[in-house]
């Protein structure tokens, strides 16, 4: 029997880069919004906020109206963000203590927070603080406070793990950060709303079909309207 070589179909789409995802998130942030960008990937959203719009960045350590990184040599180590990197303050910004800062979160005063994630479930459960590995040093920071507090919780993450498993899951296997808190997920493959009826794509990268997206996700995803 002569073997007919199996032809693997060429990938018909290109995943979005992190910068493109960040820009996509930024496009959903309206002028005047009070926004907290979580440490890690979400910080990149700050680089894509349209310069013409006034958007208020909150930092958990007591800053409202956070500005971009200072120029080299101008760092003030008393003015850092949640990731402990030096930042600046916009004209009109303010400082306050930690209890007030978390009142802003928990009290529902933030319009949007953007968080990274290990997993997000179809019901909006978020897992982003602990891999569950028994030898890991656990660390939670402000993630659980943000998850329950912000009016909208957006997640920014790779769609698949390095081993190809979907990070959008039926039920999180990693320890939870919050229950039913995520509104929308931005990945390198699509923007997906968490709705009471399941996952609903808002947009998909060019060349990726809704069927293939659903297959990769391991869950049904409704096509964009």
């Amino acid at each position: 029997m002569s073997a007919i070589p199996e032809v693997k179909p060429a990938k018909s789409y290109k995943p979005r880069s992190r910068d493109v995802i960040a820009a996509r998130v930024a496009a959903d942030i309206p002028e005047g919004a009070y926004v907290n960008l979580g440490i890690g990937l979400p910080v990149m959203v700050g680089n894509h906020l349209p310069p013409g719009k006034e958007i208020f960045l909150h930092s958990e350590n007591g800053i409202l109206g956070m500005g971009p990184a200072p120029t080299k040599g101008e760092e003030d180590w008393d003015l850092i963000n949640a990731g402990k990197q030096p930042v600046t303050l916009l004209t009109g910004g303010s400082y306050f203590h930690h209890a007030d800062s978390f009142s802003m979160m928990r009290g529902g005063h933030l319009d949007i927070c953007v968080l990274g994630a290990f997993q997000v479930s179809v019901t909006g459960d978020l897992a982003n603080w602990h891999t569950g590995a028994p030898d890991a040093i656990p660390a939670v920071g402000g993630a659980m406070d943000l998850a329950v507090g912000a009016k909208k919780v957006y997640v920014m993450m790779e769609h698949l793990t390095k081993t190809g498993e979907s990070k959008l899951v039926k039920a999180c296997t990693y320890p939870l950060t919050g229950v039913g808190v995520v509104s929308r997920v931005y990945t390198d493959l699509a923007t997906i709303d968490i709705t009471p009826e399941g996952l609903a794509a808002v947009d998909i990268v060019e060349g990726l079909s809704i069927e293939e997206l659903s297959r990769l996700t391991g869950l049904p995803v409704r096509a964009p309207k």
Binding site: E31, G92, S94, G108
Partner: protein, 229 residues
């Protein structure tokens, strides 16, 4: 550009609905937003639940709002005062409901609303008539009463200066409930004597950050009103 400064008191209160809970700052006359309350009278909203430390003084502000029959219920710590006669008549006539709350509980319940706390165990009023019917608990040998947040639809605040992002500073003891009610209400409206450019208020000294304030409106300084209050 975000500009929370509105042009008139009428505009700042246009959408207050009948039946709203209105948190009003001030302790006696200090920090009492009389101009905003006058605006609320003109606006016409009825059946209001009003939260304020007192029950109005003389003929202005909250006293006038009560006189006009707009208040269904008052949540208050100290309604008994020589010049709170409008409240007194309405109360005796059964035309206004009173929920009497110890002053610190008034502050802390609104603080809880602003901070997203669901309820808290508070030692104040344990064993008194004002804790009757409330859940209690002994924690580390001390007795506490469970208190719930007071959320507002609108907060009326008197501040000294404000900018277009809603940042506020106050004047002396007129600060009192202002920063607390700003965070506790869906829509916080602040009357100020001065609207200032962004950056005019030192970020270290801003007392109420703009995130808690939805509207700022400038009023003229009326010394006479202040003294009458």
């Amino acid at each position: 550009m975000i500009n929370k400064i509105v042009n008139s008191i009428a505009e700042s209160l246009a959408d207050v609905k009948d039946g709203s809970t209105v948190l009003i700052g001030g302790f006696g006359g200090a920090g009492m937003p009389n101009e905003l309350i006058d605006g609320l009278i003109a606006q016409g909203a009825r059946e209001l639940t009003v939260v304020n430390n007192n029950a109005g003084n003389g003929e202005v502000g909250l006293a006038a709002l009560l006189r006009e029959g707009r208040v269904r219920k008052l949540i208050c710590s100290f309604p008994r005062q020589a010049d709170a006669h409008h409240f007194e008549s309405l109360y005796r006539a059964g035309k206004v409901e009173l929920e009497l709350v110890p002053q610190g509980n008034l502050a802390e319940r609104m603080r809880a609303a602003g901070a997203g706390i669901g309820a808290f165990f508070c030692p104040t009023a344990y064993g008194t008539d004002l804790a009757k019917g409330k859940e209690t608990r002994e924690i580390n040998g001390k007795h506490y009463v469970l208190e719930y947040p007071i959320h507002g639809d609108v907060a009326l605040i008197k501040a000294e200066k404000g900018d277009r992002w809603g940042n506020l500073v106050y004047h002396k003891a007129a600060r009192n409930f202002g920063p607390v009610i700003a965070a506790a209400a869906k829509c916080a409206v602040a009357q100020v004597y001065e609207t200032v450019d962004l950056g005019n208020l030192d970020p270290e000294n801003i007392v109420t950050p703009g995130i808690f304030v939805q509207r700022v409106v400038k009023v003229a300084r009326e010394q006479a009103l202040k003294e009458a209050a």
